[in-house]
């Protein structure tokens, strides 16, 4: 059954704006590439052979559809019915593969031979390295020095997959700076490289294109909920870094009565603590100082350690269709352990933010059905948590 065409999430206007947010604030050198990419994406998306190629890879290589899992133990503890959309079970361990397979196929179709990517937690970098290996493309991933240290496992995975990992040493040495370096690389290599951006951010057409590639997870979740519940859930919750896993799941329920909740880290709450600003190609909520200098985020989760957010989330926040909450690192570490212990599922630190919010809000959620996007698995985080718990004498 075809359930929805995501009526409530509209494409941006011709300038790439969702309301007041978005646009294309890139160096003139990159503008022709953005225009070319938009055209190529439109053509590919309208081409049944491209769609089939992507669908086949999503099914046979990435393992889609991902299951919907009921959590009886956690539900009993929290007093609401918790369902998880299991993006952690995708090949490479997160939702990131949906977008990457789409972009890599598109890049190949455009005649590009090299993929450039940024990564925070390393999940997008691993997914990009994987697609590059599969399609025989060169791959270069930028990662902040802080993240190279705390996500060592993923650095090694990328290298195993044949990618070059370059350490970003500027600024906060996290995701923000990895994006700066990736954009600088792209300015120099735009003729044969495609910038495989990992979230619903950057200049148009990225926020819209990346959302479109992730709509598959939202529409799957919609039909799975329909089958399991006979209706839509009351609340849909996802963590928000740039916002790709969140927009993916929101896209499946935007035209339903469900509450849509994005959860940001307290130290990287672009919507919660930011004001509109322009960085990395688009206008969106952004944590900045009184002069417009971008602030450094501070979060335990490398994938959410970012002072900005994708422009469509700013639009959803401003229009009131979704709301954005934040949780602390301490709450996240608790939630990480809670799901592991109660359900036998070790989540990544990023979706542990969504779990942490649900756990904290259990009183107001009592009796409701809550769908959480479990955007990735926690293998990559086990080292970091072990170290932290040992330090606190709790391991």
């Amino acid at each position: 059954m075809e359930l929805n065409e995501n009526e409530a999430l509209k494409p941006p206007d011709a300038s790439g704006r969702f309301g007041d947010f978005g646009g294309r604030f890139v160096p003139e050198t990159l503008m022709p590439a953005c225009l070319e990419l938009e055209k190529a994406f439109n053509e590919a998306w309208a081409d049944p052979s491209f769609r089939k190629q992507l669908d086949d890879l999503l099914a046979d290589y990435a393992g889609r559809p991902s299951p919907l899992t009921d959590c009886p133990n956690l539900s009993e503890l929290l007093g609401c019915r918790i369902l998880l959309k299991r993006e952690d079970l995708n090949h490479t361990g997160s939702h990131k593969i949906n977008n990457v397979l789409g972009q890599a196929l598109l890049a190949q179709r455009m005649g590009k031979t090299r993929l450039v990517a940024e990564t925070g937690a390393g999940q997008h970098g691993v997914a990009t390295a994987t697609a590059a290996a599969l399609l025989g493309m060169e791959c270069c991933v930028y990662m902040g020095e802080v993240d190279v240290e705390r996500q060592k496992l993923n650095v090694f995975r990328m290298r195993l997959l044949g990618a070059e990992v370059r350490t970003a040493l500027s600024g906060s040495r996290t995701l923000k700076d990895a994006i700066n370096e990736a954009m600088r690389d792209w300015v120099a290599t735009v003729e044969d490289s495609h910038y495989c951006l990992g979230s619903v951010m950057g200049p148009h057409p990225y926020p819209w294109m990346v959302r479109t590639f992730h709509e598959v997870l939202g529409s799957e979740a919609r039909s799975q909920c329909q089958e399991r519940l006979g209706t839509t859930p009351d609340v849909v919750v996802a963590c928000v870094g740039g916002g790709s896993n969140a927009i993916g799941i929101f896209s499946g329920f935007a035209d339903s009565p469900a509450d849509l909740v994005g959860v940001e880290p307290a130290g990287g709450a672009a919507v919660g603590r930011g004001v509109p600003g322009v960085v990395h190609g688009s206008r969106s909520f952004l944590m900045q100082d009184e002069f417009g200098q971008v602030l450094e985020a501070e979060s335990i989760s490398a994938g959410l350690d970012y002072p900005g957010v994708g422009p469509e989330h700013s639009f959803l926040a401003a229009s009131g269709r979704a709301r954005y909450e934040s949780v602390t690192d301490t709450e996240v570490v608790e939630a990480f352990q809670l799901l592991s212990r109660l359900e036998g599922i070790i989540p990544a630190l990023e979706p542990a933010h969504a779990l942490a919010w649900v756990s904290r809000e259990r009183a107001s959620l009592a009796g409701k059905t809550v769908l959480i996007n479990l955007s990735g698995r926690g293998d990559k985080d086990v080292d970091q948590i072990l170290e932290l718990l040992e330090k606190e004498g709790r391991a």
Binding site: S15, F25, V26, E28, T29, G171, V187, G277, G292, V294
Partner: protein, 258 residues
Amino acid sequence: MSGAVEEALRARREAGGKSLVIYMTGALDDDFETTVLAVAAAGADVIEIGIPFSDPVMDGPVIQEANEKALKGGATPANILSRLERLDVGVPLAVMTYYNIAAHMGLERFAQSLAKAGVSGCILPDMPLEETADWAAAADAAGVETILLAAPTGDDERLTAVCERSRGFIYGVGLLGVTGVRSELASSATEIARRLKNLTDLPVLIGVGIGTPEQAVEAAAAGDGVVVGTAVVERMLSPEGPEGVAALVKDFREALNA
């Protein structure tokens, strides 16, 4: 109606010379004012003052380092502009910064504060043609020249449209890449100069990747002049002081005059 930047560059061209625009990071240290005056005295036709931004995606490592140093030293858009306002430089000034610095202050307020500080032109390297309208309206109203970049990746139709909207001069990007010195001048530098000269009567200046007087002469041959940034900022970061910076600018000036 043309502004002070365009007038200075046209005058240089009409006299049969090649223009030299010097970029320097604003409020890098206590020598800021002395350095600006020394650069003007050494023969710059226009001085571009960088207002540092936390995330300068068009800049290579040297200008990034200068940005960070200036920010750590407390540089803000307002204090750079008020320091410039008190100076009598003798050559036109332009500001180079990123869009968010202008947007955060408010585009109109930013444009007006440039004019008040005696700054004639403005370059926002993360503002492509498609995003120019709001800023250009504010800049035009304040009498500030919006200098646009023209890149080797643009086709002639695009370059023509960029030249039409640019004021002061057209900034031809000399290579595919960010600011920084290269060992050789890219062939794209002379090519973009030649293409732009065929499309516009505005002064055509080539920047990005011009690190030595020899490279400047080569790039200027096909256009009307050059913008030199990283080489100057590198000197500013060295212990050689304003005199060292002035000596370098003088080398460029003399090479272009020869």
